[in-house]
Amino acid sequence: MTSVLGSGAIRRRLLEMGLTPGIRVELLRRAPLGDPIELRVRGYLLSLRADQAALVQLTLTAA
Protein backbone atom coordinates (compact mmCIF):
# COMPACT_ATOMS: atom_id res chain seq x y z
CA MET A 1 0.00 0.00 0.00
CA THR A 2 1.02 3.59 -0.58
CA SER A 3 -0.52 5.77 2.10
CA VAL A 4 -3.61 6.45 4.12
CA LEU A 5 -5.69 9.47 3.22
CA GLY A 6 -7.90 11.50 5.43
CA SER A 7 -7.19 12.84 8.84
CA GLY A 8 -8.03 12.37 12.43
CA ALA A 9 -8.56 9.40 14.61
CA ILE A 10 -9.69 6.95 11.92
CA ARG A 11 -6.60 7.50 9.88
CA ARG A 12 -4.31 7.26 12.84
CA ARG A 13 -5.97 4.05 13.99
CA LEU A 14 -5.61 2.50 10.54
CA LEU A 15 -1.92 3.34 10.62
CA GLU A 16 -1.53 2.02 14.15
CA MET A 17 -3.18 -1.25 13.17
CA GLY A 18 -0.30 -1.77 10.80
CA LEU A 19 -1.48 -0.25 7.52
CA THR A 20 1.73 1.67 7.06
CA PRO A 21 3.16 2.77 3.70
CA GLY A 22 4.95 0.00 1.89
CA ILE A 23 3.29 -2.90 3.66
CA ARG A 24 1.71 -5.81 1.82
CA VAL A 25 -2.03 -6.06 2.20
CA GLU A 26 -4.17 -8.91 0.93
CA LEU A 27 -7.86 -8.56 0.24
CA LEU A 28 -9.52 -11.74 1.36
CA ARG A 29 -13.22 -11.24 0.97
CA ARG A 30 -16.18 -8.97 1.20
CA ALA A 31 -19.09 -9.67 3.53
CA PRO A 32 -22.47 -10.59 2.04
CA LEU A 33 -23.76 -7.34 0.50
CA GLY A 34 -20.25 -6.17 -0.12
CA ASP A 35 -19.37 -4.39 3.08
CA PRO A 36 -17.31 -4.68 5.28
CA ILE A 37 -14.25 -6.25 3.74
CA GLU A 38 -11.68 -8.55 5.23
CA LEU A 39 -7.98 -7.90 4.79
CA ARG A 40 -4.87 -9.71 5.78
CA VAL A 41 -2.21 -7.33 6.96
CA ARG A 42 1.00 -8.10 8.86
CA GLY A 43 -0.16 -11.60 9.45
CA TYR A 44 -3.59 -11.03 10.93
CA LEU A 45 -7.15 -10.55 9.76
CA LEU A 46 -8.73 -7.13 9.81
CA SER A 47 -12.23 -6.16 8.88
CA LEU A 48 -12.96 -2.63 7.62
CA ARG A 49 -16.01 -0.78 6.35
CA ALA A 50 -15.72 -0.14 2.65
CA ASP A 51 -15.76 3.61 3.08
CA GLN A 52 -12.84 3.48 5.49
CA ALA A 53 -10.98 1.06 3.29
CA ALA A 54 -11.36 3.65 0.56
CA LEU A 55 -8.98 5.83 2.54
CA VAL A 56 -6.26 3.29 2.06
CA GLN A 57 -4.36 3.89 -1.15
CA LEU A 58 -2.99 0.76 -2.66
CA THR A 59 -0.88 -0.26 -5.57
CA LEU A 60 -2.14 -3.51 -6.95
CA THR A 61 0.38 -6.28 -7.34
CA ALA A 62 -0.27 -9.67 -8.79
CA ALA A 63 -1.38 -12.23 -6.21
Partner: protein, 49 residues
Protein backbone atom coordinates in the same frame (compact mmCIF):
# COMPACT_ATOMS: atom_id res chain seq x y z
CA UNK B 1 -55.91 -13.46 63.07
CA UNK B 2 -54.18 -16.70 63.80
CA UNK B 3 -50.47 -17.22 64.40
CA UNK B 4 -50.08 -18.44 60.88
CA UNK B 5 -51.59 -15.28 59.46
CA UNK B 6 -49.32 -13.22 61.64
CA UNK B 7 -46.16 -14.95 60.52
CA UNK B 8 -47.21 -14.90 56.90
CA UNK B 9 -47.95 -11.20 56.98
CA UNK B 10 -44.65 -10.52 58.67
CA UNK B 11 -42.90 -12.30 55.82
CA UNK B 12 -44.88 -10.28 53.30
CA UNK B 13 -44.01 -7.03 55.06
CA UNK B 14 -40.34 -8.03 54.97
CA UNK B 15 -40.64 -8.72 51.25
CA UNK B 16 -42.22 -5.33 50.61
CA UNK B 17 -39.54 -3.52 52.58
CA UNK B 18 -36.72 -5.40 50.93
CA UNK B 19 -38.03 -4.81 47.43
CA UNK B 20 -38.66 -1.17 48.14
CA UNK B 21 -35.10 -0.78 49.40
CA UNK B 22 -33.75 -2.46 46.26
CA UNK B 23 -35.71 -0.13 44.00
CA UNK B 24 -34.54 2.91 45.95
CA UNK B 25 -30.95 1.75 45.80
CA UNK B 26 -31.22 1.12 42.06
CA UNK B 27 -32.46 4.67 41.46
CA UNK B 28 -29.68 6.15 43.56
CA UNK B 29 -26.84 4.35 41.87
CA UNK B 30 -25.08 6.26 39.12
CA UNK B 31 -23.09 3.37 37.72
CA UNK B 32 -23.95 -0.29 37.54
CA UNK B 33 -27.36 -1.53 36.61
CA UNK B 34 -29.29 -1.91 39.85
CA UNK B 35 -29.89 -5.58 39.08
CA UNK B 36 -28.55 -8.19 41.45
CA UNK B 37 -25.56 -8.80 39.28
CA UNK B 38 -24.93 -8.14 35.62
CA UNK B 39 -25.57 -11.38 33.78
CA UNK B 40 -23.27 -10.34 30.97
CA UNK B 41 -19.57 -10.94 30.67
CA UNK B 42 -17.49 -9.08 28.12
CA UNK B 43 -18.03 -10.43 24.65
CA UNK B 44 -15.28 -11.40 22.26
CA UNK B 45 -13.45 -9.21 19.80
CA UNK B 46 -13.60 -5.56 20.67
CA UNK B 47 -13.93 -3.28 17.70
CA UNK B 48 -11.28 -0.63 17.18
CA UNK B 49 -12.07 3.05 17.46
Amino acid sequence: MSTQDFIALAVVAAAVLWYGWRVWRGLKKRTGCGCDRCPVEKHAGHPGP
